[in-house]
């Protein structure tokens, strides 16, 4: 299976990922190559096989629903690109 430049632009949009126009062709080629590689999985009959999400087949632990962390807003916002009055600033979303 191979992809087109349009496919790649669509995937990039889904990922909110800017890609340079001049790179679209090489991504198209690389991704098509990867899909070709992945098609090899089709050789293997996997009917009845349970998908494996965790190498030790563990499920996620749950913890009691109690507060364990202290508020460190100022500390964490010290590295934010843009904050004001304790809020993260982004361009206006609603006019």
């Amino acid at each position: 299976m191979s992809l087109t430049a349009d496919d790649v632009n669509k995937i990039a949009h889904l990922a909110r990922l800017g890609i340079d126009k001049q790179d679209v062709e090489s991504y198209t080629k690389d991704l098509s190559g990867m899909l070709e590689l992945m098609a090899r999985m089709g050789e293997l009959d996997t009917s009845g096989v349970e998908p494996m999400a965790h190498p030790l087949d563990q499920v996620q632990r749950l913890r009691p629903d109690v507060v364990t962390e202290t508020n460190q807003r100022g500390h964490f916002q010290a590295i934010a690109p843009k904050v004001e009055d304790g809020l993260y600033l982004v361009p206006k979303v609603i006019e």
């Binding site: 995937i11 090899r40 690109p81 206006k92």
Partner: protein, 481 residues
Amino acid sequence: MHTQSISQLARSLRTREFSSVELTQHFLQRIKQHQDLNAYITVTEELALAQAKAADERLAAGEDGLLLGLPIAQKDIFCTLGVKTSCGSKMLDNFIAPYNATVVEKFNAQGAVLLGKLNMDEFAMGSSNETSYYGVVKNPWDTTAVPGGSSGGSAAAVAARLAVCATGTDTGGSIRQPAAFCGITGLKPTYGRVSRYGMIAYASSLDQGGPMARSAEDAAALLQAMAGFDERDSTSVNQPVPDYSAGLDNPLAGLKIGLPKEFFSDGLSDDVAQVLQDAIDEYRKLGAQVIDISMPNLKLAIPAYYVIAPAECSANLSRFDGVRFGYRCENPADLTDLYTRSRGEAFGKEVKRRILMGTYALSAGYYDAYYIKAQKVRRLISEDFKKALAEVDVIMGPVTPTTAFGIGEKMGDPISMYLADIYTIAINLAGVPAMSVPVGFSNGKPVGLQIIGNHFAEDRLLNVAHQYQQVTGWHQQAPDI
């Protein structure tokens, strides 16, 4: 000073042959002298000297502990409070970590000295350290060759003696492959053995931190400090940590070694195969029994990995959105522009390639065909390991098809780079532990032997590696720089 092992250094520090401050200064000096290798992204000189001074006080008070006062370095993927933690990316070039990774906390508690943060492929995606925003690391054995990746800075620093030992992380071979290319001893533990808290995520069901050292004995000491259950990592495994040094001297008589025929077929270069045969002969002399085995599903490890890892990567890296931390583009027109341009301007090409691949594999209509299919293949691969390890104690094979390739040689062809990870990737899919041990050279470049064991058999792997290192000297060889 820089040639001593961890236990030798611990002794020297206790007999006051030199202080931790002197030892730290010596290593800082060496780092400066060998800056051209580009092994470090950040050197934490002030912090290191303060930690060394504190360690000297604890030593003077008679405190015990193998790592007390020992200069080590961290892969720049482990968050370090107050220190730039870049993960090799422009995205985090301005990121001063607001907290410590559990692994960093553990080393701090033991009184180890942090020399700095080591270079790596961007977000640990790469096999050559060439995807780093901070430039390629040079292999100290041959400065025209890559050190491997993604823990390339770690491997180069340990090989060139720019740190006593270092940490690495391994998602598809990122500890073992650079360890092999740089002639050092690296161990990828069982998935869940070392906490991932504060270790910047690439593919969460595969990522695992581990030690990179000069010998199995040093790696055992390092793993002892790193391993253990952590409540803050939801996939950490709650199992007791054994004494990794206790069994190092156990004899290997009767050890059953499995050699999968799939590991020794087409693609493995003749020179590497020859060096590996010599190493396996050495194990025969140590009393091991060598058995041919077959693991038929190994050949599908690469396709399965290149679905699962990019899928998890595309989800994990969605947190880098230019809003709360990291890079933000100038003058975003609107929110979508802010996300798209921040990510577009700050991620390198390999990271983008994997985000695109993962996004595609997880998108509506393709999820079952790719992601679920890959997880099914993953189970079959894992069962191959289960079957094999019921029959033999350890599996041995190559780490890489060739010795370190040249800088720039494979950058134009990402798929051929992926295919070179053929021997390491299946191990991450199965979650079992594996080591790379230096076993010789070809044309002046190191060759690594891979030793794979059952879940939580790190002690056995270290024992098997240590016994080899007791009768050979490859691990003591250092590049002539």
